[in-house]
């Protein structure tokens, strides 16, 4: 079956080559049948890659260890769900996932635009097939997912313990969907520039895909943050890791684009800016993939090898140089059709918002790629850490949150000062009241956090005001009850009110970030059973040790051969709050030199964090038991000397018993973080708001609205 999978890759490469030539010939020679054939090549690419993906997926599900990727990332003891997701745990499998998702979303985009912008779509088809061909070529020449070894090893290495977490199953597909969806606006942008059709039509066509890319990227980023918080054992959700930053940068430029494209749609302005943002977002998405897959930067995500660096750098260079050439050579036709009517307008706020988002992206870009640049220039590797990023991103984030509250209360085109004063009154009072309450509560020593809470209050008040006034207006026109009027208001103005809900979600998310990082209490201490320590207002007591062996008792399917941990009791003011069970999992290694028993637990240990989550705070705990304690080490040494590989698991029983009977002191890490849960809740609100904003109105409603508007137009003009 590996042969079938590899043959599919070869067919895919051929399809890409044909499709590129057919699309370009079709548009240049005015032969629409070749353009249509090129578009169908994308559908064929999706079909062929689906077969290839199915072959690999079946190999994982059937434990076919002749496949190298299966042997390297799965095992018979890996639970079924994780085995299915292990397809994208490897370099090769993740490249196949990327190519497959690209072909899927490209097929959807080209199908939906098949009757419009035929010239633009033809060039876009060629670009998308170019990307597809690039990734397929990487698989054929550098990282073949269908490489085999015969005879097959009897057992696989198993899935990396760090990836045995539910959110990690869905995180790569979401992230890669985001990356691939971001290449679609890039492709159509290139097409629009090549076809010299930079009008409203192409913007309208790609808006939904830009939004979908933004949604998926955001979901992928948040899932990764959740994994980091719940699995990685350091207690944080964002570490300004290179790969985290790589996904955030295109999300920021996509956010800027989604705002400024509204200005182009309405006023025919910012054409250069929008097309540049679209090209930048797509390029940053490719650069993000490069960072994850090439291993060029040190990162917890460095699952990729170093062999893919050169092809990626070539592709990125082509994208950057090509983008600059296209924009500068078409700058005449990208002139704005109108000018800004007033500085006091929503257009102005969006412009400032765009500048802040791009500035954020630039700061993160510099901090992320600085090690590479530094090494290239001076020969010495260096890096910038979280304090550097926080210094520049926090003030910009504050401005961003504030702008997300200002935008909703300012009119398009022009607002009068009197109206602006009236509309800003309630949000300003809300912000000031929040400041007074917080300062009165004695949190003035964290000015940035206080400032952010005030900005968030401003956002809630301004959006709440918008919903209230809109509902009131709707009731005045249609005489509906409040709930019906509210629903109708949102349904008829999905973009606007969906966007407002997104703004609320962002404010909620930042409240969680500010509170959890500014008011966190953390303690690291060594304890024996019976001992306790303080973490903020909480007391945590080490009640008793815990141990589990073999997959039979591994309820969380962590795959550990041995897990040593503790039961911890959390109290506040003498009242029981929670019981936590953090543990450290020990995994088998492949190194025979560690001995028969040593190799059963000699793999990299993984912390299994225990969290008591709540609306007001999370209590987070991790443990690092002393596995090298003399009593435990003696058992391992004796077992290595006297037990063969078949009997070696008996030693695990002795290890567990010894640990339970005479537990050595363990290193504990406790964190109490206020309002962490609101980060995830805020993300969910953003997602819901985004879905509302992008959801299409039913075609019957659209036709009715268009017809009604058309009928009303002549009457209104006559009356005027």
């Amino acid at each position: 079956m590996a042969g079938l999978g590899y043959a599919c890759l070869l067919l895919a490469l051929g399809i890409c080559a044909y499709g590129i030539c057919a699309s370009i010939y079709g548009v240049r020679a005015g032969r629409p049948e070749f353009s249509a054939s090129g578009r169908r090549s994308v559908y064929a690419l999706f079909g062929v890659l689906s077969v290839a993906f199915l072959v690999l997926e079946l190999a994982f599900l059937r434990n076919d260890f002749t496949f190298n990727t299966v042997a390297d990332t799965s095992s018979r003891t890996t639970p079924l769900a994780y085995r299915a997701a292990a397809v994208w745990a490897s370099q090769e499998g993740s490249l196949l996932l990327w190519a497959w998702l690209l072909s899927l979303w490209s097929s959807v985009a080209l199908f939906l635009t098949r009757r419009r912008m035929r010239d633009v779509a033809s060039y876009a088809t060629a670009v998308l097939l170019g990307f597809g061909g690039f990734f397929v070529a990487l698989m054929i020449f550098y990282a073949n997912p269908f490489a085999t070894t015969r005879p097959a090893p009897p057992e696989g290495v198993g899935l990396d313990p760090l990836l045995r977490f539910p959110t990690m199953m869905i995180h790569p597909p979401m992230l890669y969907s985001g990356y691939t969806l971001c290449t679609i606006p890039l492709a159509f942008g290139v097409g629009a520039l090549l076809a010299r059709r930079v009008d409203a039509d192409w913007i309208k066509a790609i808006r939904r895909f830009a939004f979908a890319g933004w949604l998926f990227l955001g979901a992928g980023i948040l899932l990764g943050a959740r994994w980091s918080y719940s699995e990685l054992g350091w207690g944080g959700y964002w570490g300004w890791d290179a790969v985290e930053n790589a996904s955030l940068m295109p999300w920021l430029t996509a956010t800027a684009f989604l705002h400024s494209l509204m200005i182009q749609e309405k006023r025919g302005m910012l054409k250069v800016w929008n097309v540049s943002l679209v090209l930048a977002t797509g390029t940053l998405a490719i650069m993000g993939t490069f960072l994850v897959r090439s291993g060029v930067l040190n990162s917890i995500h460095a699952f990729g090898g170093a062999t893919l660096g050169v092809p990626f750098v070539c592709l990125i260079a082509v994208l950057i140089i090509g983008s600059i050439y296209l924009v500068t050579s078409r700058r005449e036709m990208l002139r704005s059709e109108n000018r800004l009517d007033s500085l006091l307008s929503r257009e102005s706020v969006f412009l400032v918002n765009n500048l802040v988002l791009v500035a954020l992206c630039f700061v993160i870009f510099w901090g992320t790629y600085f090690p590479l640049i530094s090494e290239a220039v001076s020969g010495t590797e260096s890096s910038v850490g979280p304090p550097w990023f926080d210094r520049y991103t926090v003030p910009l984030a504050l401005v961003l949150v504030l702008l997300s509250g200002i935008g909703p209360v300012i009119a398009w085109r022009r607002a009068t000062l009197a109206n602006a004063r009236r509309n800003f009154l309630v949000p300003t009072v809300a912000a000031l009241a929040t400041a007074a309450v917080l300062l009165g509560a004695g949190v003035g020593h964290k000015p940035l956090a206080v400032a952010l809470f005030c900005c968030a209050a401003f956002v809630f008040a301004s959006v709440g005001q918008e919903f209230a006034r809109g509902t009131r207006a709707r009731r005045a026109m249609a005489g509906e009850s409040i709930p019906v009027a509210l629903l109708a208001l949102v349904r008829r103005n999905r973009r606007r009110y969906g966007g407002y809900i997104v703004h609320v979600g962002i404010a909620v998310l930042f409240i969680g970030v500010a509170a959890s990082s500014s008011f966190q209490h953390a303690t690291e201490t060594q304890m024996r059973p019976g001992q306790s320590t303080r973490v903020g207002a909480y007391t945590v007591r080490y009640v008793r040790p815990t141990a589990s062996i073999t997959p039979k008792y591994d309820r969380a399917h962590t795959g550990s051969t041995l897990a040593l941990g503790a039961e911890v009791d959390v109290t506040k003011n003498g009242r029981h709050v929670a019981t936590l069970n953090p543990s450290e999992g020990y995994y088998a290694s492949q190194e025979a030199a560690q001995g028969t028993v040593g190799s059963l637990i000699g793999g990299q240990p993984v912390s299994h964090v225990a969290i008591d989550g709540g609306v007001t705070r999370d209590v987070w705990s991790a443990i690092s038991p002393e596995i090298e304690a003399p009593a435990l080490k003696r058992i391992v040494d004796v077992g290595n000397r006297t037990l063969g590989s078949e009997e070696a698991p008996i030693a695990l029983l002795y290890l567990a018993r010894s640990y339970l009977k005479s537990p050595p002191p363990a290193q504990f890490h406790f964190i109490v973080s206020p309002l962490v849960m609101w980060i995830w809740i805020g993300g969910l609100i953003v997602f819901i708001g985004g879905l509302i904003a992008v959801w299409p109105a039913p075609s019957t409603v659209r036709a009715r609205v268009a017809a009604r508007a058309r009928v009303r137009l002549p009457r209104r003009v006559v009356r005027a």
Binding site: M1, G3, L4, A7, C8, L11, A22, G30, R31, P32, E33, F34, A36, S37, R40, S41, Y43, A44, G47, V48, V51, M117, R118, D119, R196, R197, V198, D199, A200, D201, I203, K204, E265, K266, G268, M333, E337, N338, D341, A411, W412, R413, R414, A415, T416, N419, R469, G470, A473, A476, N493, R496, V705, A706, A709, L713, P714, R716, V717, A720
Partner: protein, 126 residues
């Protein structure tokens, strides 16, 4: 197993050729009856109509947004009336061009009448 794989590849290849080649076959069958230049004019007409329809929908959205801004207190009545009249006049220009039928023209032709280069004024009606 090898035979199954080979057969599968052959089937895939046939399906690909059928899918991808369908437009070429259809075009070859139609070619005898097509008048030269028809496709060019049709394509140019499609493009112009697509642009105008996109501009029309954007203009309708602007009109609705302006009304909502007024009803939610972001615009004074005087500003709203003035803006609404401007937007509706611009919309009428686009609708007139759509009603006039598809004429091959450049990409910027549809919007040039609403181009704002100086003080605000109603677009000309010719």
């Amino acid at each position: 197993m090898a035979i199954v794989i080979v057969l599968s590849i052959v089937v895939l290849l046939v399906l690909i050729v059928l899918l991808v080649g369908a437009p070429l076959r259809q075009a070859a069958a139609r070619r005898a009856g097509a008048v030269e230049g028809d496709t060019d004019n049709l394509a140019a007409g499609d493009r112009a109509r697509d642009e105008l329809e996109a501009a029309r929908e954007a203009k309708y959205r602007e009109i609705r947004d302006a009304e909502l801004d007024f009803r939610t207190g972001k615009l004074s009545e005087r500003d709203y009336r003035e803006l609404d009249a401007e937007l509706r006049a611009e919309a009428l220009v686009i609708l007139d061009e759509l009603d006039a039928g598809v004429r091959p023209r450049g990409a910027s032709g549809a919007r040039s009448r609403s181009r704002r280069t100086g003080p605000r004024r109603r677009p000309s009606s010719d």
